[in-house]
Symmetry: D2
Subunit: 416 residues, 4 copies
């Protein structure tokens, strides 16, 4: 009965359903049976998909109907040099020192580009990075009869945040309710709950806690819950509310690069890079009606997410980045380059979700950030800061390439 | 000299740089040496990352500084039932019949949810899906002296699209220039080139072709190229220009589900689903300042992208989806559910990029869509349509869950 | 020397500058002289512009280089019936009872349309309206050296809101600082100050108070003020931050209209109106990448603003409205129409600015809302609520017209 | 029977309805009667509102239920110096030479600020301005059964633009159909019709023409019209589709100001202005999720609209502006200031609508742009260009004020 061929046959004969196989065999056998069935149905050979090297059982919390694994090439960039030490004038960041950053991608040239940027950052003495806001959100939508009940509900919520916190926090040992913000649209009331979920990305924690708080809202106000997510969260959608108010970590990274270094290593000037950034990342994105004012931050975010077991669909909002590049004139008349990236809603965790899978777990080990941090939340903060520096390196490298190509072509023009 | 330990030592001693290893050894040995080096530097054991099962050389176009692979669990949903047959009244879609859709993800419950939706769609007779627009875009930004030169440039471009097409198409055997749209902001001129890139996602093809066309623009107008991408493309950013005008494939899928089926299989009603969709996906997203009017289309898009070797960073705009759900009253007074998803900018390909890697290639085989289609472009069209139906299933299942939970709770309310 | 001809001659001869005339003559004579000068320069006859009927001196706080006035036709709609009475279950709104609403416009058919909607609302028993949030904002931008200083500044601000409030409130007898929200983008720190400005629209009050608070920020943190407005306010721009978080008053109005009334007076059905609203105001606006999910709320807002002396340029964000229209099924199977408008950022005042001019002041008198309210802020609240009901009437009337035309055409179709 | 007191009494007694008065008396008497009635009902004295000085009958196309007029102070700025002459290298703009620009507003200091900017522009030799795109849009929404019919409809429309043009243009002597762009969202199809409406703002012309074209669409495709406006137009809403694709006139104006002039007249430097613009208008607006990347363009647009009889509610999208300010380094090391404004969707006309009212008509006379231009459309083009230069002056003046205040404070800092 645990022979995969037999199981596949039973599926084909309609005696078993494809998602029931784990009831009749261990996870690897079930995956093999499913693969056999699909191979026969689609006349394919799924040898590579079946060539995964982790126990299928470990993926149980992550997938159903498993047939194997996608293997995405993983490489390494770095070291990422982060100046997070506490000084007299500031409290420091979560990440300090040098870290290799694993990236999984199929986008050729990405790692080379990021690595070039990281090298320049190292020579410039490292980047600063800080998480300036933190809060995982969930925003249920309630139905009321109309605006009078809506106003009543809003008032009750504003007066009873403590009761909501008590209910919400009863469901979690780690999470803390930070804020509840009400929004009214006609006979819909949205309550945006924000939590400190420590080292977990926290979407599930926030959902469960909010569900508990909703029961109080329903009991004490005229509002009836329609959906536990009313899209003001906003999860996996490119929404201004996240770009403005943040979700997960709001993190900024920057570096000041001496003009000489810009010329030697990036073959261009601070002014040329600043011009390209302004015309492309600021003015161009403005004209495009964009929420993303950057060159390709999503490349780094997506590749780091894949490598470290983050939620790949959250790349949508996690990549929300404003990149600034300015020429700062020195007293000697030369110009240095100030470059920054600000990611408004980077949802990351070092526990839970895909972080426990073998390759992903090892990738977090490389960063020294596997599992919960000390204090709680510091590992996820550090991961956010390192990804931000990686994104900064990618922006720097690409903008410099654009600017130097332009300079080169300007030189050709002169040579005509 | 090709001993990985030796190579790692040389890197540690500063005799070799980490990205040079492929010059001294085959790709697998280079990856092993790099892994050894990182293991020592970070005091880790990267056994799982090193346990990839494809020849490292095959990933050469996709990654630098390779150390191994991320293994992402892959499962199967379906069959996806697409009614694309040509009829007397319409030209048909690219995808027809039943397809198993492979999805790679770490998001537990996702495949179960999509599968439930696909089951209902099958029972309802399948979904319709159509690509209604197609064009991969690249938008360089040029510098002019000011508005007078900008107007002159725009006029020249509008008068010389043929010359631009000739230049652009000289670089590609497949691509066709469809359109060039100029935009002016002060002394910046942006030209948005759109191409039919057939079965390739086409970003590289579009970039190279546009580079060639830019030379003509620079030669014939006062405009100077600043950056080959000026962010009106807009690649890997959540921009309204993509949501409005499309990028890659604009694809819509829909299904009409009999009320009885909604009740039996989804345990709710068309009215309840429509209400949840309106309050959450339409009104909630409106209030959130969102470009995404859906529940979780990004989950399906991201998982299908990973499985089939698409560019994971393009999930940012590829997931741009408007979901509609309406109760359609029948003559007998009962209500059926009309559900649709419209993805404005789904960038997909069945050739090039990550599609050639072993597991990804097999995933495309499962769909019957590996490589170029006949006619050219039809495989990528079909892939877009199938992903759209997958997203539709995911929306349907999640909205139904929200609505039925709500109904359940309404029943409890009555029982008090 | 106070002869207008003489003054005009002196301007023409270059002996006086056009903006200096009030130094040499009373305001009406200065305006006449300026008019004479312009008439000669442009070979025109400005009799109508000169035919204004208020003392020019009264407009001194409102205009420079005055030549006369634009006369915009003003009409009346109403009564606007607002159910704002306090009940056992809610605190009531600021506006109650019936009010005539003056509107100034050149848009033919607008008042007729709004009036039709108001008639239906009256017959339905009046509309509910509530201000659910209130806060006039000003957001200066500061320069810091980088992210470390930015984090330090944010931390200081979060810890010292009381000190900022003390400074800000020292400049005003009425205003209260409600909140300061920091936002970081690279080396820019934005602080969004929100004030309760009572019956004043409050932009000036907020600016002055914020200026004072900025001095503390500059003294106590490394941040240097770059601009007193950093566009996160956001004044006179269509910004998501206002649509999401509000500015001025966030106000919602709604009404439940019996199905019979929809049919008799609007010649259509709740279902047809709901369909038109969903396809146009929700889905259509979603596809347009819009921040405005309504049909023509700006018409009513602009006309009420002109009539009552509000800032006409703030129509940009004051018109930010989400309109919802739903068919609510009754127990007898018939459907009533629930209609609502939610204006996120309606900036209004009943004191200051243009409200003191003669015609504008009389318009506020018609509403019974001239000057400060009792309690302070209640007049501006009531004005917001009445404008919201006016906008609701406009939406209702236009949507009904679209739906009935459609029904009519549907009937024709049947007759073919 | 034409005694206003009598009429007012009859309204009070319910014998006449307030909107019927024009049937029983001339327009001025009707307005007086209505005023009397309102005065009694609201216990007010509407003397100023009644003190309008144009024949009420002239306002018949513009208002219903007229009671009088709002008098908005009007002033003059300028001359606005526009370099529109045709040169060897470009086709010239529509506006040339010097124009006084009338502005009606209640915003104190606005005209002084704009005037200061215009003075600097004149000394710098005038501004360039060009309309780079022109098209008034109307976008009906149609219902189809689903995506298959949607695809069919889109295909028919793309193949039959000529037939649609013929139908549309049959309703107008001036308008020309430029383009029809289809958009699909589930079972809704939107067709965005764009017209050259010459010197008319053209909303009505576009609506009527589109209505005619819709009949062909309904006759030839499965699509049924739901609403003549489906919000992809998008009229009087802040929508990205307008900011990206334009509506009415897309117009850009710019000026290059010598560094010496910036210092003498604006008391600051090109670098300081550029910094303020970048942090506020670009980065600040980016962070605010804005569609408006400017300081206060809406002030000038709104005031010019009021003065010249444009549609005040269209200020919402007409003010959509990107402002750029850059320091351009000269060969001698000094920096000049390049400043530009780009208004994407400025809807203006010199015929029709409010332009025929007496004060508004005189305001257009001042500009030399009353009525139709030669060639048709040139007056509206010129009006757009002049308003753009006015907006440029306003931006310049405000940004300079912010920058100089900052410089002043920087000097104080040094003095400590």
């Amino acid at each position: 009965m645990t022979d995969p061929e037999d199981l596949a046959t039973q599926v084909r004969d309609g005696e078993l359903r494809i998602h029931e196989l784990e009831e009749y065999a261990d996870h690897d056998t079930a995956a093999e049976a499913r693969r056999l069935y699909v191979e026969q149905e689609t006349d394919t050979d799924l040898e590579s998909i079946g060539d995964y090297t982790f126990p299928a059982e470990r993926a149980e919390p992550n997938i159903e109907n498993m047939i194997g694994a996608a293997q995405i090439p993983m490489g390494i960039v770095g070291p990422v040099d982060v100046n997070g030490e506490e000084t007299s004038s500031n409290g420091g960041g979560a990440a300090t020192g040098e870290h290799y950053l694993p990236l999984a991608t199929t986008e050729g040239a990405l790692l080379a580009s990021v690595n070039r940027g990281l090298g320049v950052i190292r020579t410039a003495g490292g980047a600063d990075a800080r998480v300036t806001k933190n809060g995982m959100t969930r925003a249920p939508v309630f139905r009321v009869k109309g605006v009078a009940e809506a106003a009543e509900t809003v008032e009750w919520v504003n007066d009873n945040v403590d009761a909501l916190a008590e209910a919400a926090e009863s469901t979690t040992s780690h999470g803390e309710l930070l804020d509840v913000e009400p929004y009214v649209v006609g006979d819909s009331v949205y309550l945006r709950f924000a939590y400190d979920t420590k080292d977990a990305m926290g979407m599930n924690m926030a959902t469960i806690a909010t569900g508990e708080a909703c029961e109080i809202v329903e009991a004490e106000t005229p509002a009836s819950l329609v959906a536990l997510s009313g899209n003001l969260c906003s999860d996996k959608k490119p929404a201004a509310i996240n770009a403005v108010e943040g979700r997960g970590r709001s993190v900024t990274a920057d570096v000041l690069i001496p003009g000489e270094l810009v010329e030697e290593r990036l073959h261009t000037t601070a002014d040329a890079i600043a011009e390209a950034n302004t015309r492309k990342n600021l003015t161009g994105s403005a004209k495009a009606g964009s929420l993303g004012f950057n060159a390709h931050a999503a490349n780094v975010v997506a590749a780091a997410f894949l490598a470290t077991g983050q939620d790949e669909a959250q790349v949508v909002e996690a990549a929300n980045t404003i990149t600034t590049m300015d020429a700062r004139q020195r007293e000697d008349g030369a110009s240095d380059l100030y470059a920054s990236v600000s990611l408004a809603s980077l949802e990351v965790g070092t526990v839970g979700g895909g972080t426990k899978l073998p390759t992903q777990s090892e990738a977090l080990e490389i960063l020294g950030l596997r599992g919960g941090g000390e204090p709680a939340g510091s590992n996820a903060d550090a991961l956010a800061e390192i990804i931000a520096v990686g994104a900064l390196a990618g922006e720097l490298s690409l903008l410099a390439a654009l600017a130097s190509r332009h300079l080169a072509s300007a030189h050709e023009d002169l040579g005509r």
